[in-house]
């Protein structure tokens, strides 16, 4: 911000920026509403689920500076709990199943968080990875997950017991609503005073401590929110594909969500959405091409390239471009 800006000019500028952002969100929602008439709804739902997953992950990495390498555990917990409940209790409505799955993930997030925030930086990443691997072994052996086979044929049921989610189009609008709710929650969190403290912790934790903030509590709450939303993404995904499997819990999944966020732009709200769309789209394209076996090599290469020369991600670079040219 230039020195000469009077408060009023700053306020006007902020207001117009907010208006532009509001317009962007309205545009995106309209796009989301008409999308299933243009593209295959199941594919779109997959993107929405992973976009929510990546946004939840980004809340931690982008706004609190915590790199979790174990987010697959939360995705899988949400998926398994919801899948198990919906297939075992036919009377349970899908939104309740999803809610319980989300809560289950949040509780697991609380346990992981209490342990992991005792260490910082690289140790935080290693601890979350190790804990997630423990959950992976737990899911293999636990009686309710179907072991190596996973859970199949999870019924989609009727929303609130009234609206059948059997058709992909109906389910799409439900998934879209879930995504918008989750995204709004993240947006609200980031821009709340709580979110400001998180950013302060990201920038300089000792300083935040010296200002009197109980940083551990802030980090823990952020971790629980992120885990819960990751679980929500997993639970919703179970409804879409009607299955929950070990692939959700594998450490590759934790890596993929990092890649989505990094590629789209760490610490930007729209970045994870863009990154998830690109990665899922790429996987989809590759799986139908002769390069299908090389997915993980290609993802690894994108990883390396992103880290070397594209660290702000797509949205981050766009923001820089806009700032430079339209200030």
């Amino acid at each position: 911000m230039a020195m000469s800006d009077s408060p009023r000019v700053t306020a006007t500028r902020q207001r117009s920026a907010r208006r532009r952002l509001g317009l962007l969100y309205v545009g995106l929602i309209v796009l989301g509403l008409v999308a299933p008439f243009v593209a295959y709804p199941v594919f779109l739902m997959k993107i929405l689920c992973f976009a929510l997953f990546a946004s939840a992950f980004n809340l931690l990495l982008g706004f609190a500076g915590l790199l979790s390498f174990g987010h697959a555990a939360f995705l899988a917990t949400g998926a398994y709990i919801t899948g198990f409940l919906l297939s075992t209790y036919p009377g349970l409505t899908p939104e309740l199943g999803i809610l319980i799955g989300t809560l289950g993930s949040a509780v697991l997030g609380m346990l992981f968080g209490i342990l992991a925030i005792r260490r910082q930086g690289i140790y935080f990443a290693m601890i979350t990875l190790a804990l997630a691997q423990m959950m992976f072994f737990f899911f293999i052996q636990a009686p309710f997950t179907g072991g190596e086979d996973g859970l199949h044929g999870v019924p989609r049921g009727k929303l609130f017991g009234l609206f059948s989610l059997q058709s992909n189009l109906a389910l799409y609008y439900f998934v879209f609503a879930v995504f918008v709710l989750g995204f709004a929650l993240i947006q609200r969190t980031v821009h709340s005073p709580f979110g400001q403290v998180l950013k302060a912790i990201r920038e300089n934790e000792p300083r935040a401590v010296s200002l009197g903030y109980d940083t551990d509590t802030y980090k823990l709450v952020a971790f629980v929110i992120s885990a819960g939303l990751a679980g929500l993404a997993g639970a919703t995904k179970t409804l879409v594909f009607q299955l929950a499997s070990l692939g959700d819990a594998h450490w590759h999944m934790s890596g993929e969500v990092i890649l989505m966020t990094l590629l789209g732009g760490v610490g930007t709200l729209l970045g994870p959405l863009v990154g998830a769309s690109l990665v899922i789209g790429l996987q989809h394209q590759l799986s139908q091409s002769p390069l299908g076996d090389w997915v993980s090599v290609i993802l690894g290469t994108i990883f390396v390239l992103c880290v070397l020369s594209f660290r702000s991600g797509i949205i981050g670079e766009l923001q820089k471009l806009v700032k430079r040219n339209f200030k």
Binding site: A125, I127, A130, Q133, S296, V297, F303, C306, L308
Partner: protein
């Protein structure tokens, strides 16, 4: 037959030996991670992949070049270590000035590339590497049967671990390394070529992983994914031990192997997870790790 808590003594000692061998690999790998982390402040996520490359290089060397086990033990760490030097010079060097989490992400990408490439070339099922003739067979110790190769793995791993400890704690080069860990800028000002030291350290850490890979080839199935699952356990071992001390890393590695072995005897269901559980307990009681220095 003698039993203890209803478990035949032979079985108990057999599992303890297996545990000790696993522990030797944990020690070798966590040692390499600790050495690299000390100077570069980067957690080398490609460590497991480099261990796997070591095992594969030994296997392919034998198949196509007729490289025998003993030569492989010498040549493979050099070759894979040279690959490490390339990685450091071409990639890690470019990001050493930014947040070290990016180093973790970069090496994670490399791990995906190595693993994915080998899966495509050789498939996921493992192949086996023959035990060298001199080390075939075993001794009957009365209370248990000790295969010679396993005894050799233990001895070799311990010797290399202690050699590394000696190098770092008792030689001039090691003193430079420790000083560089404390304050690289001051070392540079004193005229020590720190960038070269960093490169060699990474190369050495990678060579250790490859050496472990060659050692492992005759006892574990050689497959592209053999490294990644092992590495996550090694991460837990590193969190338990803390990366402040070389001897600490070695001891923690061996101890975790033994605990895993014991769990296999008494409660096999938890054998995969026991090390993670130990990690949880350590985090609750002593967050800095058993041998950790920082708070």
């Amino acid at each position: 037959m003698t039993t203890i808590f209803g478990i035949p003594l032979m079985v108990l000692f057999g599992q303890l030996l297996l545990g000790l061998i696993n522990g030797a690999f944990y020690a070798l790998l966590s040692l390499g991670l600790a050495v690299i982390f000390g100077l570069l402040k980067v957690i080398n996520f490609a460590h497991g992949a480099q261990y796997m490359l070591g095992a594969f290089a030994a296997l392919l060397g034998l198949e196509y070049l007729g490289l025998d086990y003993w030569l492989a033990l010498l040549v493979v760490p050099l070759v894979v270590g040279a690959l490490g030097i390339l990685i450091e010079r071409l990639l890690l060097r470019r990001i050493q000035h930014i947040d070290h989490l990016y180093g973790l992400l970069l090496t994670f990408g490399l791990a995906l590339i190595f693993e994915g490439t080998l899966v495509n070339l050789f498939g996921v099922s493992g192949s086996s590497y023959p035990v060298p003739e001199v080390l075939a067979g075993g001794f009957n110790l009365g209370f248990m049967f000790l295969p010679t190769y396993r005894a050799w793995v233990l001895v070799a791993a311990l010797v290399v671990c202690l050699f590394t400890w000696f190098m770092i704690e008792r030689t001039r080069l090691g003193a430079y390394l420790r000083a560089g860990t404390e304050n690289p800028k001051l070392m540079q000002a004193f005229g020590v070529n720190v960038p070269l030291l960093v490169t060699l350290t990474y190369g050495f850490g990678v060579a250790l992983a490859a050496f472990a890979g060659v050692l492992a080839a005759p006892i574990y199935p050689v497959s592209p994914t053999m490294g990644s699952s092992l590495l996550i356990v090694v991460f837990a071992v590193v969190v338990i031990g803390g990366m402040g001390s070389i001897l600490g890393a070695i001891l923690t590695g061996l101890a975790m192997g033994l605990i895993e072995g014991l769990t296999k005897v008494f409660y096999p269901e938890a054998a995969n997870t026991v090390i993670f559980l130990v990690m949880i307990v350590v985090l609750l009681l002593r967050p800095a790790g058993l041998f950790g220095k920082e708070a």
